[in-house]
């Protein structure tokens, strides 16, 4: 049994890293908003999905123009990423302005409910735009970066199988890492990043220190949503087919990743995302092997949610978070 698990390990690692990178960047959006507003932005998964659709639409549009085919694919990808990130960032800011800002002093149940409402509206609007323009809400984007690469793990040691992946895996991983590093730099080194940390720490005091709280929150939403939208594009490139309902469950998983790493903690979200992606891929490859066929790969969502519950019970502050005492 152990041997079989080891054999599939290289492939599991590669698939897990790709999934984990997506989780990590989406988790950043959750963790930033939670850190600053103590609000679970349920609509974030939907922003990710919107990003995937906008990106795919742009790809189809650009690929339709003749001259684009002479431009290197990577340039097209960068253009699409930037445009999509800006659009979804603006969308996120708009959502904050309309649905969350008026409720900042309301009981905490109410903004959660508007968040669910917004996520429903986004799902349905995207569904009928996609259905109107292409007749079907399940959309397949143009295939990019499809060269198959194989790493000969078997030449290192005979217990491993070879692992194969598409070039898009490298693109996803590299872009996600670049996004995370630049976000880390932004939060820790720039003026706006300092303002965001200050508002997260104490909103009233920050406003006394002449920090524009509303603007800072808007920027947080912009950055979180832009990251989410960009990840949506990466997801569409990596997995090809998208539908309006991918955002919800993926958003949940990203939230689990954020909790796993310690909610409100940027580096924790990155770690949690990668870890969750690896664990989930490992589970879906090996669950039926481990339990003798009783539980199959279809229980991988159950697995992710049980991780969440275990973390919340035994280490509610997460892997990298600091425990906080509640003040009365």
């Amino acid at each position: 049994m152990l041997l079989e698990m080891l054999q599939s390990l290289p492939q599991v690692l590669i698939d897990g890293l790709a999934l984990g990178a997506v989780y990590a960047v989406v988790a950043l959006g959750y963790t930033m908003v939670y850190g600053i507003l103590q609000l679970i932005n349920f609509a974030h998964g939907e922003i990710f999905m919107t990003g995937a659709f906008i990106g795919t639409a742009f790809f189809i549009l650009l690929m339709g123009m003749g001259w684009v085919s002479s431009v290197p694919q990577i340039v097209v990808l960068i253009v699409v990423l930037v445009v999509t990130a800006c659009l979804t960032g603006l969308l996120g800011m708009g959502i904050e302005r309309v649905a969350y800002r008026p409720l900042r002093n309301a009981p905490r149940l109410i903004p959660l409910i508007t968040a669910i409402g917004i996520s429903f509206i986004l799902q349905d609007v995207i569904r009928f735009i996609a259905e109107l323009s292409s007749g079907n809400y399940i959309v397949t984007g143009p295939s990019l970066f499809t060269n198959q690469l194989t790493i000969n793990f078997s030449s290192i040691s005979s217990i491993f199988n070879d692992a194969s992946f598409k070039t898009s895996f490298l693109i996803v991983l590299v872009t996600a890492v670049i996004l995370m590093i630049s976000l880390d730099y932004f939060i820790n080194r720039t003026k706006w990043g300092t303002a965001m940390r200050a508002v997260a720490l104490d909103r009233e005091t920050a406003s006394l220190m002449s920090i524009n709280v509303n603007k800072t929150i808007s920027i947080t939403f912009f950055i979180g949503s832009a990251l989410g939208g960009a990840t949506g594009v990466l997801f569409a490139v990596q997995y090809g087919t998208i539908d309006p309902f991918i955002g919800f469950i993926l958003g949940m998983k990203a939230f689990i990743a954020a909790v796993l790493g310690g909610i409100g903690n940027i580096r924790g979200a990155m770690l949690g995302g990668i870890l969750l992606g690896l664990l989930e891929m490992f589970a879906s490859a090996n669950l039926s092997l481990l339990t003798g066929g009783v539980f199959g790969a279809e229980y991988k969502d159950v697995f992710a949610f049980s991780i969440l519950i275990l973390v919340l019970i035994f280490k509610p502050e997460g892997l990298l978070g600091k425990p906080t005492a509640e003040k009365v």
Binding site: Q38, L39, T114, G117, Q123, F305, I309, L312, P316
Partner: protein, 426 residues
């Protein structure tokens, strides 16, 4: 003119006369023109009018029971659409009862539960597994399917099993606070659906994605219940039991502690309310109503599969509670009725109407915008609009107002009695 009209409407007997005319006209309209959905809805809305009338509570209840048990089934029995009306009314009853259950958890105890349909599923499966040969796959004793009389026992068993599920979910979940609770319950809702979806191997318990078909119909005095009009009465009895229980619970010590926990957990704890026990009871009681209705649902549909218990169902019930007014029993009843009728009657009617229009070439509306598919958009818009502009819902919750003077008097009176007794004893 306006003032005198308002005055006239405030007068009790004028209200009664107008109400009688309204009910008579709408039921006559329903009886004689069978296809009129409007008349049916008007007749149902008479219950709402009744809620606002200036009558004693007991009188209102008697009139409402009369309407529900006699007039509505009678008025809609005049033609071929009878069973479909009764079907809608039964579904309204089922959803109202579930929404009342969720109202305990969300509205009164303030715990946002996004996986509520799981308990409905538990109830539905608990009956349909034992009322079909399915149970023979894993039960070592007994012969299955059980007879139709077992339905009545399963109403209680379904409730109890759902309550146990509620407690089991509650124990780990209630250690987490506020917003986490929403995510964890949502996760549990999905977990239970995935379990039911995949529990057909290694031992076939739930029939997996195929679901369970031909559930034994319930039987009473040897008569099997098959038609929606028979289920209407079953649902109605359970619903009235539910409403009565919920109203009593709201005013009990437990209900007050739920509200205290909702307003401020720490303060409630300081006042000596056991937090975990109170929250667990909210979970268990809310779940049990849902489980009971799950049993009725399984018996009525005679077929269940995991697609009836998706996330959307959980959110639908949440929309009912938010729309009606969190914590308010009449509000939640109204909200659940409105949403169910919107779902089952209005949207489908609109969709066929739009289809007919585009079929005859008057306007062309693309298939993607068909009203039957807009459910999510409508729910989302309702949630946002109500949370922003009317967070207390259609009929806001009212707290019982105590007359301070009278309370003090009775307090003083009982104090005096107590001191008298002490004197007597010494």
């Amino acid at each position: 003119m306006k003032e005198s009209l308002a005055k006239f409407l405030q007068y009790k007997w004028s209200q009664v006369i107008l109400f009688t005319v309204f009910v008579a006209v709408s039921s006559a309209a329903l009886f004689f023109s069978q296809k009129s959905v409007t008349a049916f809805l008007l007749l149902l809305s008479s219950l709402l009018v009744l809620h606002y009338m200036k009558l004693k509570n007991v009188t209102k209840w008697i009139i409402a029971l009369g309407l529900l048990f006699i007039l509505i089934p009678l008025a809609s029995s005049g033609g071929p659409a009878f069973q479909s009306y009764m079907d809608v009314a039964t579904m309204v009853g089922i959803y109202v009862s579930m929404a009342l259950g969720l109202n305990i958890v969300v509205g009164m105890a303030g715990l946002l539960d996004l996986g509520f349909v799981a308990f409905f599923a538990v109830g539905a499966y608990s009956y349909s597994i034992f009322a079909t040969p399915q149970a023979a796959n894993f039960m070592p004793f007994g012969t299955y399917p059980l007879g139709g009389e077992s339905f009545w026992i399963f109403l209680i068993i379904g409730g109890v099993v759902a309550a146990i599920a509620g407690v089991l979910i509650g124990i780990p979940v209630l250690r987490v606070k506020g917003d986490y609770l929403a995510i964890v319950t949502l996760g549990f809702g999905e977990i239970i659906r995935i379990l039911f979806n995949n529990a057909d191997k290694p031992v076939n318990i739930t029939g997996g994605a195929m679901g369970i078909a031909s559930v034994t119909p319930p039987e009473i005095f040897g008569i099997p219940l098959i038609f929606p009009n028979q289920f209407y009465f079953v649902t109605l009895v359970i619903l009235i039991f539910t409403i009565f229980t919920v109203l009593r619970l709201e005013r009990s010590k437990l209900g007050r502690s739920w509200k205290a926990v909702r307003e401020n957990e720490i303060a409630a704890q300081a006042m000596g309310i056991p937090l975990v026990k109170t929250k667990l009871l909210a979970f268990a009681l809310g779940a049990s109503f849902s489980g009971m209705m799950g049993v009725v649902f399984a018996a009525k549909q005679a077929f269940i599969d995991p697609t009836s218990f998706t996330l959307l169902e959980s959110f639908t019930i949440l929309v009912m509670v938010v729309l009606g007014g969190m914590g308010s029993v009449p509000g939640v009843i109204l909200g659940a009725a409105v949403i169910t009728i919107l779902n089952l009657q209005v949207l489908t009617e609109l969709a066929t109407w739009v289809n007919q229009l585009s079929f005859s070439g008057i306007i062309s509306i693309p298939e993607a915008l068909s009203p039957a598919k807009m459910q999510k958009f409508i729910f989302g818009a309702l949630l946002v609009a109500f949370a922003l502009y009317r967070p207390k819902g259609l009929i806001p919750a009212k707290n019982k107002i105590f007359d301070e003077k009278r309370l003090k008097e009775t307090q003083a009176h009982s104090d005096m009695n107590a001191t008298d007794q002490k004197k007597m004893q010494s």
